[in-house]
Amino acid sequence: MTEVVATNETILVVGGGISGMTAALEAAETGKKVVLVEKRPYLGGRVSQLYKYFPKLCHPTCGQEINQRRAKMNPNLTILTMAEVTGLEGEPGNYTATVKLSPRYVNDNCTACGDCAKVVEAEFDNEYDYGMSKRKGAYLPHVMAHPMQYVLDPRIIGTDDAQKAKDACKYGAIDLDMQEQEINFPCGAVIWATGWQPYDAAKIQPYGYDRFENVVTNVEFERMADPKGPTGGKIVRPSDGKEAKNVAFIQCAGSRDRNHLLHCSRICCMASLKQTHYVVDAYDDAQVTIYYIDIRAIDRFEDFYQTVKAMENVSFVKSKVANIISDKDGNPICRGVDTEGYHRYENPHDLVVLATGMEPSVTKSDFPVDIVINREGFVEPDPANGGVFAAGSASDALDVNRSVQHATGAALKAIQVVNRVACVEG
């Protein structure tokens, strides 16, 4: 049984993405006890699936390495992975959290040697690559995963594979009898950092994501650019593996749209400008078209936009693409009207990337506590939320930098609550 030592001076952080990690680490490094609860089997969240950041074009894993080192070394921090907060009761300074722990079927003895994966046969879609690759039924979520421990897919439990995995482990790290468990512990303040998920592109029917192989989402494209990703970093078409040199980005795919998300997802313009670099860097004869309504390069990011705009092989079309059709060779054809001066177009591309937006990963009904959200489902800063503070993109569509900024502030908000508890209890 997992046991968590906590008091009402403990800070509970829900979500182990970049915002949750930041809030947890900032609080823990200030000397506060923190319990970090993450649904996935590893920390890092969506950011761990990104190849590069805008505007520096540096690698998220770089900061992740530092954050993971901070996490490993900090005795104030308790990390629960494969865990979800299912209940939260009480008031600021005196909450009781209920956490459901899903079985990993692997204990701390795991050395990440990988012997279990070698013997397991069953393969599943790899969620780390958004299903674009396969992984074994016993797997290390990714090469930088923290905790650096394997996971057994629950779908192999009860099959021969599970037993094979167990037999292969020299360290007694596989425990097939692990059960789901529910634990309760006290905490004084809660940081809600449950983050975002990509909007389901299949719902954007005119773009045929569900019908055309060569229409992908920006998060998938990010995996394609990553040398560790499903294509080994090659920008190629899913349908035939052909080099994708003529690439279109469709902005506001699902954002600013009453059929989908009413809000602007803020990051997608910059993400596409960044991904344009991937294409241009990959091929000398690359051709990129960005279809947009407004390019939202905010404040200091303007020069990043200007740099891409100045590239000869990149064109910007002020137009929301009306629909995509596919020709016989699998080339997606974007159809629409360039609104600057009214020009109709029907442009074939090798690959179309949908700049799908961000939606909150937790819907209203899934919050374990009554919380003030706006109509888009983001948590609003509101006194009625008591000792629960949103951090990062649970509060709005934010980029990494602003998420971390916001999460750092959220850590202080939580510290204020537990410090008050400490004062009262002396």
């Binding site: 005119p206 506001c252 600013r256 749209d257 009453r258 059929n259 309504i293 002020k318 137009s319 929301k320 693409v321 009306a322 629909n323 159809r335 629409g336 009207v337 360039d338 609104t339 009214y342 109709r344």
Partner: protein, 207 residues
């Protein structure tokens, strides 16, 4: 309603936009357009539009009253509703196009020889007579809208079509003599008259 035609409109002022809001079906939505162009790109007859819907919305905002109301663009609407379902700002574009057409026709600004405009009028009159459409007469009126000579030419061009329709019992010469209709045609006509009165009274109040 010629007084309405002389309304002074200043460029990039909201006069015309407000006129559209008041008098055009669903006109209050025009201001909500964010110029993404998805309507223009979605139109099946798009290439026949001198000014596609999103541009018309911009023209309304820019006060281009004559260019909009005299345009034949909105008469190209096939009522396919692609624009409506795709519009990210929920503008009922099909209806606005219909509304602009109605309004321009009422003001007498609609292009006189625009075929859809003419057809639409023929259709309405045909329907109003007996409460139901008489397809045969509708067809014939359409053929002869540009005079007798052209009518004969049109009829001949479609002769083969007509013959096969009759053969399939999907067109009946009997329709020429009376044909289908409702019992309470006069009730219907009174009702429509009343509806028109109500609508025109509002239009007048707005000018």
């Amino acid at each position: 309603m010629s007084d309405m035609n002389t309304a002074m409109v200043e460029k990039y002022r909201n006069d015309f936009l407000k006129e559209v809001e008041a008098n055009v079906e669903e006109g209050q939505w025009v201001k909500m357009c964010m110029q993404c162009g998805v309507c223009s790109g979605s139109c099946p007859l798009g290439n026949a539009w001198a000014h596609p819907p999103q541009e018309i919305f911009m023209m309304i905002r820019a006060g281009k009253r004559d260019e909009v109301l005299k345009s034949d663009s909105m008469w190209m609407c096939t009522s396919c509703y692609n624009c409506i379902v795709r519009c990210p700002r929920e503008l009922p574009i099909t209806h606005i196009m219909h509304g602009l057409a109605t309004y321009s026709k009422r003001l007498g600004l609609a292009p006189k020889t625009q075929p859809t405009s003419q057809f639409s009028e023929i259709f309405w009159n045909n329907m109003m007579k007996r409460g139901r459409v008489n397809e045969l007469k509708l067809g014939l009126s359409l053929y002869f809208k540009d005079g007798f000579g052209q009518g004969i030419k049109n009829a001949l061009a479609n002769q083969k079509l007509g013959m096969s329709m009759m053969k399939a019992k999907r067109m009946s010469p009997a329709e020429f003599f009376g044909g289908h209709g409702i019992k309470d045609a006069s009730g219907l006509q009174k009702m429509i008259k009343k509806a028109e009165e109500i609508e025109l009274a509002k239009l007048k109040a707005n000018t």
